[in-house]
């Protein structure tokens, strides 16, 4: 059982155990409330793979989740409990949507400009709570929550008073023109596959941007001096300070960079999935990012995996609701249990103690052997 001693493997097993336990609990709940619990749970667990468009739903959802997951992971890794992803997402959606609608550029320019603008507005909106935290020690949980509501009000204001068609009876913008919609991730020359994906799903080139984003985030966090500073602050801010790290500058940058991912998530919702601006475009996506980041233990490398896994559960819950008498909110309960079990450091003390005891016993044996050789 040597493999069990690698911390990453143990961590993975622990998370897997938490997910399985939560799913079991979900099944027990289903047993209690459903007339056809097996059918309901089968729909839940296999739903996203049952039809092509559902497979697409799963991927689309996961891309958003991975972006907000990255936003949260970057901040949480340095122990900055920013909840600002929601606000950054809303402003990212607003700005990219406005550009997609109104800026008269050809698609090949309009889309990059809109994406850059979304990233920039996320950066700026993340910078604010970062500055407040770094220079004024303002509680970031409160400040980001306030900024989220301010962003929501700004979004609603611009949507209702400036963006929606003047005489529309509903609070939504027009659909974006073709030059403002993200193209499918399959290039058009691939014929059959292209038509299938572009007609039945909204999986766009954001998929590639997402892959680039998570690699960039990983590289930044583990291969650059800045990433080292970021992790150092997360591990022990006082130590980081003594070590000569400019903690204020790093904290501000952490918040702002986290904002970039939030803004891009908004651009994906606006220009990829909905292709118009609607009210309540986010619905708590920022908080979903916390789940993804927690599952990935704030490591950008594992965020895509966590995002796909969690996106699968959410897509499955949608299928279950349509196919059975169990409502999709069950997935929220499962989600909560997963967070609690994954983050409960003291939950497996017995097992960990045993492993530690065995390791120290091994260590002593090894030391004794070495000692024997020397002697």
């Amino acid at each position: 059982m040597k493999i069990l001693r690698i911390p990453a493997v143990r961590e993975f097993l622990r998370i897997l155990l938490a997910v399985v336990a939560a799913l079991l609990l979900g099944f027990i709940i289903t047993l209690l409330v459903s007339e056809d619990p097996i059918g309901a749970y089968k729909a839940f667990l296999t739903g996203p793979l049952s039809k092509f468009n559902r497979f697409g739903d799963w991927l689309e959802e996961s891309i958003t989740l991975i972006f907000v997951g990255l936003a949260v992971a970057v901040a949480f890794k340095s122990k900055q409990f920013s909840l600002g992803a929601e606000g950054q997402l809303l402003l990212g959606a607003l700005v990219s949507g406005a550009i997609a609608l109104f800026v008269p550029l050809p698609g090949i320019l309009r889309i990059p400009v809109a994406l850059l603008a979304a990233a920039a507005v996320g950066f700026i909106y993340g910078w604010i709570p970062g500055y407040l935290k770094a220079h004024l020690n303002a509680n970031e949980i409160v400040s980001t929550l306030m900024l989220n509501t301010i962003a929501l009000k700004l979004y609603d204001y611009f949507l209702i008073f400036h963006i929606k068609p003047p005489n529309a009876g509903y609070n939504a913008s027009d659909f974006f023109p073709k030059a403002g919609v993200l193209p499918s991730f399959v290039p058009p020359f691939m014929g059959e596959i292209y038509t299938r994906f572009s007609q039945q799903t909204n999986v766009t080139i954001m998929l590639y941007i997402m892959i680039a984003a998570f690699i960039a985030a990983y590289y930044m966090m583990f291969r650059t001096p800045f990433g080292y500073e970021l992790r150092m602050i997360g591990a022990n801010i006082k130590f980081a300070n003594y070590g000569g790290i400019n903690t204020k500058r790093t904290i501000i940058l952490v918040f702002a960079i986290s904002g970039i991912f939030g803004g891009l998530a908004g651009a994906h919702l606006a220009m990829g999935i909905h292709t118009k601006l609607i009210m309540n475009i986010s619905l708590g996506m920022g908080f979903e990012g916390i789940v993804v980041a927690t599952l990935a233990r704030n490591n950008p490398l594992f965020v895509p995996l966590a995002g796909l896994a969690y996106g699968y559960l959410r897509a499955g819950a949608d299928v279950m609701e349509r196919a059975s008498d169990v409502s999709r909110e069950m997935v929220l309960v499962i989600q909560a249990i997963i967070i609690l079990l994954v983050t409960a450091e003291g939950l497996l003390p017995v097992i960990q103690q045993r492993v530690a005891a065995r390791r120290s016993a091994n260590g002593q044996n090894a030391a004794a052997l070495e000692g024997g050789e020397n002697g």
Binding site: V33, T149, I150, K153, L154, Y157, E329
Partner: protein, 329 residues
């Protein structure tokens, strides 16, 4: 038009409505204050409110007793708080993440159970749930202005004021309160003086749960008399903001919560003007950020002042001894 709005604001009815709108913020804010002062920021206020609002409605509908509904609501809120405390204090879950998880669980769980019980995911209108009675204060009720403002509210409005006072007494006038604040101020020092930090935090979180659940019950059994999905609408978080806006004191928190209520009521009044309601609704949130900044600046100013005084005294002492600073050796 402006005159109409002004007359609306300066009427007794407006003051009364501000009180009514503020109460579901005051009660959880007091809860947030107690746990915050014990050094355990309670993010789960929102989930606790939602759970108690739901439980109160369901139990009162099935037992036909408002009292049992309220009691069950409070107990359910304390239960969620106990879960938070257990996971944080005994299983070392991060307090913040545990709070978020419980909020998510409360949101999903209440909608899920609502659907199971009523077949509706929106609200509990098919359940005949109870309402907490309004209080008519005998003499005052018939007075012209004062009667409208002070009398005829539901019990929670009076509870809000009373509990603010009680919380203030508890925190500043009892050994328990002093210990509680000591634990929040400096847990290591408190521990060394023989205060059980973990136990004090457990009490603080449970008290916070009880207070927040009163806020939830206020929403579903007085403000409205049914449960709606996600009916707390972020009030738990606003309550937390009120704690900071109010400078982490009971009456400051009370005033901050009323301020939030005031702007909420104001944005309703402004519906008749052409001012977009979003701008008005934004004000308390911007104000909270400004308050965070002011609070931080004031703290820094006090610190600098202290450092300056110390330095002056130090220099004076040196001069008294006849030595000149910076010219030693």
């Amino acid at each position: 038009m402006v005159e109409l709005v002004l007359r609306g604001i300066f009427s007794a009815f407006f003051v009364a409505s501000v009180l009514r709108i503020s109460t579901p913020l005051i009660l959880p804010a007091l809860g947030g204050l107690v746990s915050e002062l014990a050094g355990a920021t309670n993010i789960a206020l929102e989930g606790i409110m939602l759970t108690s609002a739901f439980t109160g409605v369901v139990i009162s509908a099935y037992t036909k007793s408002v009292f049992l509904g309220v009691l069950a609501g409070i107990l359910s809120g304390i239960l969620i708080a106990a879960l938070l405390a257990y996971f944080h204090l005994y299983l070392q879950t991060d307090l913040f993440l545990a709070g978020i998880a419980l909020n998510i669980m409360a949101t999903g769980g209440t909608i899920f159970l609502l659907y199971v019980l009523t077949g509706d995911k929106g609200n509990s209108s098919t359940l005949a749930s109870g309402a907490v009675p309004n209080v008519t204060i005998p003499m005052i009720h018939d007075m012209p202005v004062l009667g409208t403002i002070v009398s005829g509210h539901n019990i929670f409005v009076y509870l809000g004021v009373l509990l603010t006072w009680l919380t203030s007494v508890m925190l500043y006038r009892t050994p328990f309160g002093v210990h509680l604040r000591a634990v929040g101020e400096n847990p290591v020092a408190a521990e060394s003086l023989g205060i059980n930090v973990r136990l004090m935090r457990l009490y603080a979180i449970l008290i916070s749960g009880a207070l927040a659940s009163l806020g939830g019950l206020n929403l579903s059994m007085a403000y409205l008399t049914l449960f709606q999905r996600e009916m707390t609408a972020g009030r738990g978080f606003i309550a937390l903001a009120a704690v900071f806006l109010g400078g982490r004191t009971p009456w400051g928190t009370f005033i901050a919560a009323v301020l939030f209520g005031f702007f909420d009521a104001l944005s309703n009044q402004l519906g008749s003007l052409k001012v977009p309601s979003m701008w008005v609704q934004m004000i308390p949130y911007v104000a909270t950020i400004v308050a965070l900044v002011v609070y931080a600046l004031r703290k820094r100013a006090i610190y600098l002042e202290r450092a300056r005084k110390f330095q002056e005294r130090h220099l004076a002492e040196l001069q008294a001894r006849g030595a000149r600073p910076h010219e030693t050796g």
